[in-house]
Symmetry: C2
DNA sequence: TTGTAAGCGTTATCAT
DNA sequence: ATGATAACGCTTACAA
């Protein structure tokens, strides 16, 4: 019966030391491959560690090093494709760099956002990668992090703070989408916007408006309606638009899900897409290829957004105070599908 | 300038003790609301703690208590609706019980599954809630956990181990789905199955076959084709089915995503759904309501699955060796939509 | 009611 | 090249 089968407990550096009749410091040094340790000792330690299936106790390490190598990630929702995909990117980079992630969702609730930060803080995460809720208008909880010198990277849903950020070119994407609708001959173009105090939404709205202006299109102010990104609110917006005095012949939606909702309403009212009304979304979710008709959209490099955010986080950790916040803007691509192929 | 603004470091029990001129043990006791501590002292401690914004250091607590109050969660993929929703349920219960979760995805890769367990183990998670990959055929890594007395709860994708499990009534759901197709008059019913060594898939297949037998339907063996759950493989299966000598007039798919793929292929080949071919899926993803036609499906209480798994985990943690593994089978519901409304 | 001291698993600073 | 020892922040006997 070996040591490990005898007791349930994980093997520690002490066990190895005792078994080898040496001190824990020597074992520690050997394990970490430090110089100034006898090759024979080193080998013996490694062999025994292997044999006993020794796993360093990260909890103890965290306590002494005063850092947990854990990144707190705050997102609005797990079930939104964008965020689940972004997490993939974050985790890939994090694990490669020896970091773990701990993810909390806010459910778009400001209070929950604050609570999540607190929860993660008491777990002593080394810092945060976050996307703010659509409700958040007060950034004190984030400002406090900055003041306390706790690394913070914002992605996608950012706000006006002196921290590294990763976003896509929301303005440019929206501009491209709108121009595309103009190019195919639409004249009464509507926009299903998102929550107004998110930069992301304002930028997409600006891109829409500027594209319209630049191409001398008449802007119908009441053809801009507001959604909360969800399918349901997309449906609501679709219904709203159909009741306007000016009937739109195209819609640019702030995201694919809102577009799905609107599209569904249009079809159920007997409208032909794109003949009667063309639609463009934003994000390029996997299903956008399969909707009927398939959805023209702006694709975002979501995985890369996550990766970039994590890379910036780790750089920030490594460089400490020297690190100068930078905003990385990734580019988007117009994917033309049947919802705009007249 | 107060203590906390002076130094970046988090306030500790020592700081409070020093400031109050008492010992750390008293502070600790006061903070935890233990009896036998002078009400005045207790109040002073609480007030100062509040004022200094003291947050207990969970890392230190974990070290002394030899448990981290963290659950390792292993899922095939973040971006699959089912798992992201299940995580919501898990996290809700976990947070309420003072637990944190640390989620890793396997990407359906067996080696990654093993690696994830290792990673989480070195973080000293208290146990695991897991769904195995579709590749996993060897369960040694899980058996080792059990032997070491580390709590494990399996959900959805389970295997034959003596641990608590949460599943839906896969057999019954499949039976209901198939019977529905029979009821509406289909006679050549195909099944898009999933990876054969997942119980979940075998049970759905059995449910399908039994429903057919019980209703004296002719079973066309080569109308059972295998997918890997993805949209793409659903498309592949759809194409396959159309090439069979016997043309199916209905399909029961192992999951909604595979159904989406098949549906897309059928439509692109000019088939009318459900007139030419009816379709039923499994899971009831949010989008299944919006597909064209909307998808009849078996809805699963995903959030509840997650919650139940977490509840069982916590019960297991609390009861320790006394806990007797139990398998909770949640029921499903047939949601009839247009893909089967002839 | 409160304080002292040991311990959780590790690293780091001195000695030796 | 190696060993003691203190420290990380907290809990917990045991003393007082």
């Amino acid at each position: 019966m070996t040591l490990q089968t005898m007791k349930n407990e994980q093997v520690t550096i002490k066990d190895i030391a005792k078994l080898l009749g040496i001190s824990t410091s020597t074992v520690s040094r050997a394990l970490r491959g430090m110089p100034d340790v006898n090759p024979d000792t080193k080998q013996a330690v490694h062999e025994l560690a292997e044999q006993l299936n020794y796993q360093p106790n990260l909890v103890a390490l965290s306590l002494v090093k005063k850092r947990t190598k854990t990144i707190g990630v705050i997102i609005p929702s797990f079930t939104t494709y964008f965020y689940s995909k972004a997490i993939c990117g974050i985790q890939e980079v994090a694990l490669d760099a020896g970091y773990h992630i701990m993810v909390c969702q806010t459910n778009e609730d400001y209070k929950t956002e604050i609570k999540n930060i607190d929860i993660l803080l008491s777990s002593r995460v080394d810092g945060f990668i976050a996307s703010i809720t659509r409700e958040t208008e007060n950034y004190d909880h984030y400002t406090q992090l900055i003041q306390r010198g706790i690394p913070l990277v914002l992605f996608n849903r950012i706000c006006d703070l002196e921290v590294p950020k990763v976003v896509v070119d929301d303005y440019g994407g929206a501009y491209k989408a709108t121009k595309h609708l103009i190019d195919i001959g639409c004249t009464k173009i509507a926009h299903i916007a998102g929550p107004d105090h998110l930069y992301l939404c304002r930028n997409r709205l600006r891109g829409f408006l500027d594209a319209m202006k630049d191409h001398k299109m008449k802007i119908y102010e009441n053809l801009v309606v507001y959604s909360d990104f969800s399918i349901e609110s997309g449906m609501q917006c679709g219904r709203e638009l159909l009741q306007k005095s000016v009937k739109p012949d195209a819609v640019f939606a702030v995201c694919d899900t809102a577009a799905y909702g609107a599209m569904h309403v249009f079809k159920s009212k007997g409208l032909q897409i794109p003949a009667d009304i063309a639609i463009v979304g934003y994000t390029n979710e996997p299903l956008s290829e399969l909707t009927e008709p398939s959805l023209t959209t702006i694709s975002q490099p979501i995985f890369k957004i996550g990766k970039t955010a994590a890379e910036m986080f780790i750089q920030m950790m490594n460089e400490g105070k020297e690190y100068i916040p930078e905003t990385r803007i990734l580019s988007t691509e117009l994917i033309i599908r049947n919802s705009t192929r007249k």
